[in-house]
Amino acid sequence: MEFNLILVGLAGVIAAATPIVFATIGETITEKAGVTNLSVNGTIILSAMTGFAVATSTDNLWLGFLAGAFVGALVAAIVAFSSITLKQSQVAVGFVLTLMCRDLAYFLGNPFMGLSGPRVPPAFEIPLLSKIPILGTLFFNQDILVYLSFLLIIFANIYVYKTRPGLSLQGIGERPASAYIRGTNVNKMRYIYTILGGALVGVAGPMYSLSVKAGWKGTISGLDGIGWIVLAIVIFGGWNPLRGSLGAYLFAFLQWLGLVLQTSLPGIPSQVLQVAPFPLMILTLLLVNIGNAEWVDRTIMGLPENVRPAISRLLRSMKTNPPSSLGVPFENE
């Protein structure tokens, strides 16, 4: 009985991580092409509001998701235009957009606050597969969004690492000059991947407002901050869609663990556990980056011969490196 309860809880973790998986893969693809779209946090909030407003007004769930994707693509197009065509700082533009989209969502979402809207149909079992012990409950008794996220993870990995356009995607983020020489229109492809990634981030919004955290409640919708976590997970995932998705599940699992601990350890104030993801985010980034720090190298060199390889291997295994041309504009002259 107890075991089943944990299993159901873990199945909930997979469902809760689904929007983060979409947003993480979207941003990973954008960054793999060499563009940082820093607007993720604002985009998710704005697309959540828009998706909810559209779905509620038209009573059509799928139009809501379409609207969310459109908002994400539009914001990403502004990032792409400002950084690729106008050569402005990606960080500056993304930062302004993330703040502005949040305020836009609160402003335009005002009339939709607290309304009850449509919801994504509940979980359904996949015949046969759901009968597999443990795995059936975890993976095959979920709603349609979760199944779509599984397909997305598989597809994104095959696309990036096993197909020709995927290899070209890696090329424009790593060595745009040689990609250009091989005949790739680097900036056009960066536009496409930024907008595509933005659309995937945008889908995450309605996933919240129409399913995971159904409804629109303005500033207390509980969506502020998620986008920043997504950006950190992309780094943690080493710009790899599969590793990023695992990061998303790990994050949702730790959040769930926090909730479970809260009921069993009432001594910890709830506010502390609510923000636990953020120090955790810092700590994770510290672990994946510390191997790059100069003083760490020096310290390791000073260590006794017999422990040195083990420590440096450990640091190297955690370390992730961004695409070499991430954030660097490309000029084809």
Partner: protein, 346 residues
Amino acid sequence: MKSGSRWYRFGIQVAAVVLALVFTSIILLIAKAQPLEAYKNILVGSFSSIEAITNVIVVWIPLLLASAGALVTFTAGLWNIGIEGQITLGAISTTLVLRLLQHSDVSPAIIIFLAVLSGFIGGALWAALAGALKTYGGVNEIFGGLGLNFVATAMTIWLIFGPWKRPGIGSMSGTEPFANTLWLPTIPGLRLSWWSLLIGILALVLVYVLLSNTHFGLKLKAVGKNRKAASVFGIPTSNFMMSAFLICGGLAGLAGALQVLAVYHRLIPSISSGYGYLGLMVGMLINYQAIWAAPVAFFFAALNFGSIQLPIVMKLDSSLSGVLQGALVLFVLMMDGVRKRFEKKA
């Protein structure tokens, strides 16, 4: 071309402002509101009376401090998104000193002085944390600062509902207000304190002098422009980056201290009120030129204070000010790019 380029630049910026207004007007029309009526209400809300104008100045002061701080870290090439949390830690440190000394025999003037000092130190230390994570841990200051912002807010709420709760039960309205002997004196009948204003303006002037007229400022610019080159020329870049964080955090902490001592007279959950993010926006809008910080921050303060009228008069959300501020920065950035593109082609 050269003689006209100054007017040309000015024209481009006017165009950016017009575009931002057009964009915001479209948003207002989507919300089924009259744009001109909304703008009028914002202006009336900020400038219709002496009281309103002084209230705009009350908002201007923390924004001045945050903008001045942001300019220092921007100059060092750093995105100190953690200003928000540094304001909060300043407020917490100030509250701590006030709570420790409020029933002691120490004279109120000294308590207030120590509280302000403590606010400065609290903000600086919080910034040092983000700085150390960046400089020695390789954690991008955007993530470090942002994470610490959330932690700072949680700390405030925890203190208000936990150790520092009001007699009886803690509430979102904040801690128990301090005795008015511990308030920074305000102009009778108004919320504005000359002391706060003095500190705010002084901070910006000092930052201006520091960045444009000192050796330190020059080296900081070198670090910001090209960290590797600066390092090759023997500038200890890590020290300069840490100094920028400390100065910015200290100024942000001062803002937090003044919010406690002169405005709210207690610690409230949203003590930083978004001024940290707004300070960064001011820095971006003025293209990191300190000389423009005061008027632009004043304009932003007027938008913020004036938009409080919107929910009352027009049943609109006051977040419209954020939309307009964001649109202004975005279009100024974009038009700057357009200008450079044309200049390159010409």
